[in-house]
Symmetry: C2
Amino acid sequence: MKISVDAMGGDHGPSVILGGCELILARRPDIHFLLYGDEAKIAEVLKNLPRLSKSSTVIHCAVAIAMDDKPSQALRSGRGKSSMWRSVEAVKTGEASVAVSAGNTGALMAMSKFCLRTLAAIERPAIAALWPTMKGESVVLDVGATIGADAQQLVDFAVMGGAMARALFHLDKPTVGLLNIGVEEVKGLDEVRTAGAMLREANLPMIAYGGFVEGDDIGQGKVDVVVTEGFAGNIALKTAEGTAKQVGSYLRAAMSRTIMARIGYLFARSAFNRLREKLDPRKLNGGVFLGLNGIVIKSHGGTDAEGFASALDLAYDMVRNDLQAKIREGLEEYHRGRFGGLEPEQERMS
Amino acid sequence: MKISVDAMGGDHGPSVILGGCELILARRPDIHFLLYGDEAKIAEVLKNLPRLSKSSTVIHCAVAIAMDDKPSQALRSGRGKSSMWRSVEAVKTGEASVAVSAGNTGALMAMSKFCLRTLAAIERPAIAALWPTMKGESVVLDVGATIGADAQQLVDFAVMGGAMARALFHLDKPTVGLLNIGVEEVKGLDEVRTAGAMLREANLPMIAYGGFVEGDDIGQGKVDVVVTEGFAGNIALKTAEGTAKQVGSYLRAAMSRTIMARIGYLFARSAFNRLREKLDPRKLNGGVFLGLNGIVIKSHGGTDAEGFASALDLAYDMVRNDLQAKIREGLEEYHRGRFGGLEPEQERMS
C-alpha cells in the first residue's frame, strides 16, 4: 500500500511526521511511503530511521504551507508545488491510495477539494472524527469542514458516515443519529428535523436511522454515527477534549495532595496507567475527509510521532476496508431509492 | 427574601423539591417560600419538614405541567392556574423576588416569556449556565433558550452574561469571549464575527471583550463569560456533562479491576471523595433565564433535594447581588454608547 505524506505538516515538522512513519512500519511492513517535502531536511531525519529509509521515496518540494496560512493564501502559494498539495495530488493520480497531513486544516481541506473535487452526488465534504465512547468508538461528522448544512447535506453525511462505520467497525448496518437539542416542540433545528424525516422515509438497508441524539449521548455510544453540521460538531469535539483534559487535571491534583493519596496512587499505578491510555488523545488521532474523489486524513498538528502513527493506522484501515467503495455503495443505494440511480458518468470515483 | 417555587416540577415531584427547600433553610433562614402546587400532596411532605413548614405559604394549584408537555400545550392548559405559571407570576406581581422550577424547560421558558415579557432592549431571552472550570466557574449562555442568534442578540447575551458574572463572581470587569471554531480565514460564523466587531467597537467599561474562544477553552476558564447561540451552547453543555460522566466511569472501572487498584483506592479514598465532589453535577445546578422582567431559575428535572438546594442557592445569590439591576446597568451603558441612552418608558424592569 502506498501512502503519501506531507512531511512538512504539523507543529514539529519532519522529525515527528517521519518518526510516525517509522513507528507504523513495524506494525505494517507492507506500506511504502511517498514523502513530500524539503529533501535536505527529510534526508537529515531519515538517517536515523532505517525502516523508513528502505520503504520510502522522497519527492522534493520547495514550498511548505505554514500552520497559520489562510486557505486562499495556501492555494495561491502552494498549488502544484507545496508538499501538502503534492501529497494530495498523489491520490488523484493514483500514485498513492491515501494522503496524510498534519498541516493546517483549512489549507488541507481547500487543497483537497480543489485537487480531488467532491464526489458527483456530494455538495460538501465533511471531516469525520473517531470519538471514544463507553461502548467503543463512534464516527462523528462534520467536525469542522464547513459551517451549516441543509437537510440534504446532513443526509449525505449520514450515508457517508455510515459507510465509514461499516468500513471501520465491520458493522453491517450501523446506527445513525442526528445531533439535536431537546427543546420540546421546537425540537431543534428545522434542517435536522427535515433530515430526520428524509432518513426515516429513505429507510436505507445499509444504515439504521436511530433518531435524534443529544450532546451527552455521544460519549455514551448511543449510536455508531453522529451527524451534525460543522460548527456544532467542532464545538462538541473540542468541548469533549477540553473536559477530558480538565477531569484528568483534577484527578492528578487530587492524587498528589496528601500522603495517603500518593500512597494510594502507587498501589493503583497500573490502573492509572490504563486510564491514561484510555484517555490518550494520541490514540484516536485523525480526521477523515469524506465526500471527495480520494481519501485524505488530517492528523492533529500538535501530535507526536506516536499520534501521527495513529493517523497512519486510520489511513491504512480506511484503504484496506475500502472506504471509497462503501461510500459509493451507500450513495448509489440512496440515490437509487430516490431517482432510480445515478447516471454512470456522474460517478467520477477514484 | 421571598422565593416562589413550583412544587410540582421535576421528575420526582414535591418530595425532592420541598426537601431542597428544607435543606437550604438551614443555611439561609431568611428565606420565606411560596409553594405552588397540589395542597394535599404538599401537606403530606411538609409533615416531615419542620423548618419549611414554618417558613412557607402554600398556594393550591389544581394543574401541574407534565415534564413532556409541549410549551404551547402547557400554556393552553396551565396559563393562570398551573403551579408553574403561578410561581412565575409571583415574580411579576412582586410577591416573590425570584421563581425556581425543576419543570420542563420549554414550558417554563414559554410561560416566563409570556408572563414576565422580555426587557425593552432585549429581543430574546437566554438561559445562562454555570460551568466549572480549571480556574473556578464561568457563565455560559445561551444553553438552549432559542436556536440561532444574530450579531445583536449575541452582543445582548454578552452584556447580560457580563452582568451575571459581575453579580455572581464579584468581578468589576469580567472577560467575555464568543464561542467560535478555528477554521482559518472563514473564522467561524458571520454573526459571531460581526458580534465580535460590535463588542470591540462598543468598548464597554463593564466587560472586557476577549475575542473568540473554542470548545476546549471553556473548561480551561479562559474567559469569565462564554457567549454563543442556543443550539451550539446546549450541545457544548451536554457534551461536557456526558464526557465528565464518561471519564468518571472509566476511573471507577479502572479502580475496581485489580486488587492493587482496590487497595490504592482505599488509601486515596478522601482524594477520590474530593474529586467526586468536584465533579458532582448537583453542585452547579440551575440555569438562569436572562432578559426577562424578573428572575427565573430552572433546576435540572432529574435532580435530588441537594441539587434543588443548589438551584435555590443560585436564586438567592442572584437576588442578593441584584442581578436585574446589573443587567439594567449593562444594557443602559451599552445603549447610551449607541444612541445616547434608552427612553425611560422603554425600561419596564421588575
